[in-house]
Amino acid sequence: MHSGAIDPPGLTWLRVSPKYVTVRLAGWAFGNLLLLAVLSLPLVFVQAGWWHWPPLWLAVAVPAGMLVLALWRLVLIPRQVRAIGYAERDDDLLIRRGIFFQRTLVVPYGRMQYVDIGAGPVERALGLCTLKLHTASAGTDAEIAGLPAEEGARLREQLSARGEARLAGL
């Protein structure tokens, strides 16, 4: 239950589903393992004697460094997922994320233009969804990933109802 220094005090954050770690892991595996395999190709070629450049140490160092970075990211994933939180206040929705690079965002209900709910294949298999709020500003990056599907639907209805009540122009 991480709560960073920049969060407004006296808030109870709602957390996303721990199952979202699996989604992030799948994404991590897909991205990083593929990259690792590509970066290891020179090593294979050098070992096989087809290539004379790069030197062996470089061919080893690059994928090794990549592996360390990937593992570091892997270790961070559960913590990052635990750091995602959202809180519904009377007039606005707060969304926080991050431990190292923290961000807390507040979106007034009256400013929402529309709400998106999306789910990728892994998310769908786990019964999760991603909710995204859109305001008139492209800079509003208000996304809550890893919500249980029924919580996502509830939040969507709630946000729509509140947005309707507090509707404001641009």
Binding site: I6, D92, T104, V106, I117, S137, T140, D141, E164, L167
Partner: protein, 552 residues
Amino acid sequence: MTAGGTGVAPGSTAGAGGAGSPQSGWLRVHPASPFVRGWLALAAIGFFFGRDTFERLLQGGPLVDEQFAGRAPWLLLGGGTVLLLTVLGYVLSWYFTRYQVAEGYVRVNTGVVFKQQRQARLDRVQAIDIVQPLLARIFGLAELRFEVADAGESAVRLAYLRAEEARQLRATILSRAAGVLPDPQRPEAPAVEAPEHAVLTVPPSRLAGSLLLSEQSFFVVLGGALSVVLSAVTENRSFYFYLIPAALGLVAAYWSSFNKGYHFTAAVSPDGIRLRYGLLDTQAQTLPPGRIQALRVSQPPLWRIFGWYRMQVNVAGYGTSGGSGEGSARTTLLPVGTHADVLTMLSLVLPDPGTPEPVRIFTAGLSGLADPSGAPGQDADGGFVTTPRRARLLAPLGWRRNGFTATDTALLLRSGRWWRHLVVVPHQRTQSIALQQGPLARRFGVADLVLHTTAGPVSPRLVQAGLDEGRALFDAQSARARAARKRQSSEHWLDQVRQNTSVSEPAEAAQAGDPVPRQPPQTAGSPGEPGQRGPQFEHRQDPYRQEGPHHD
């Protein structure tokens, strides 16, 4: 999958909307307009087929030689056919383009084969521009552009109308959008164009000076000096030849800036702020009250010599289009102006500054610097809260400059020691707010606050605010934005004024528990009732002028 919109009608464009609309009142654009728009194509056709003859004429040969005589009929036939088809296409497209302004909508039908019917709500207007390219200007024509909040291309472009007609249509649209009801006895009577007062003009000499002292010139001089040094060192004269295309490009860039900014005039009318500019192609923009989402006053280092500033705005309809010349011209509120000009424009954009002494605060925002001791909220510094002294290693130059202050109506963010910036965001225009902190910032106990507004050249960001101050501002700002939005309820700005003047008393009682101090209703400088537009406008009190002479 996608659902749950908050009920804000898209308002901009509705595909096939005009089906059931009344057939009366449909108008066509000026018959000459396709030719004015497509003169380039016609000229190209003429050039392609006429070049042969023309060249022979130049060479002094006979107009028609032996070899040519055989081909001439075919050439003429081909050229004539292409020309005829083009003209026919123009005429058809003109015939099928019709527009109508009625019942709170502007509708445009276009297309010969693929039909398009577009309608936009008048009260959603974000800006109206009248554009006159050189050729259109010669023929006394003008293009009308109607902008809604879609951050992209113009919702409605009517090209071309007679200049007088375009102005008339603009007046009608603006008065309908403001909420002025047409006279029931004579509903067809044209709306009276709102009176306007010229507020300031940028003299051409200052514009030229500002271009010479711009950032661009700095790099030009730097590049020029570098190439001279290089050619001297390597004794290779061919460097100068490479400079020729660069110089041509530069001349074009300077010319474009000069052409766009020439004779920049700002005027104010009850319909909003009017901006006019242009040497060959002229443009007249109208920004209705309350349409400006964010504003930035900036000063490059060299402009400090003469105390010049530049002002840019975010308007929902204009979008980013920052790079292109026209886009950046449209989002410029003042290409170059003195300190007094900046205050004048601020008084138009933000009629109620929400503070008793705006001149002092805005001056501090433009050029103020915190006390080196770092004590926050220095009185001499207009109440700006700056980066705490502990973070001076993070921003060795800017820490005394980066800061914020909030008035009752707007948030002011200033930054930059050399490139000075002041960003002003009215409270009710904030879309969302984010507080961000990276590991290094955490080490120094500071955080960044980002305000999200509609797309445009201004992206408001408070850098390296003290953690406690930043967090307090984050909370206070969302409360302020909420309170400001509650007061603003109608898209019709005239209704807004009526409402503010009539119901402000009970509303004040109801909001007694509001943590934010209430501001007086925003009547100063806003449009009055249509009958008394002029007088009220004359007598508006201007808080920006209460103080003594401005020091430039």
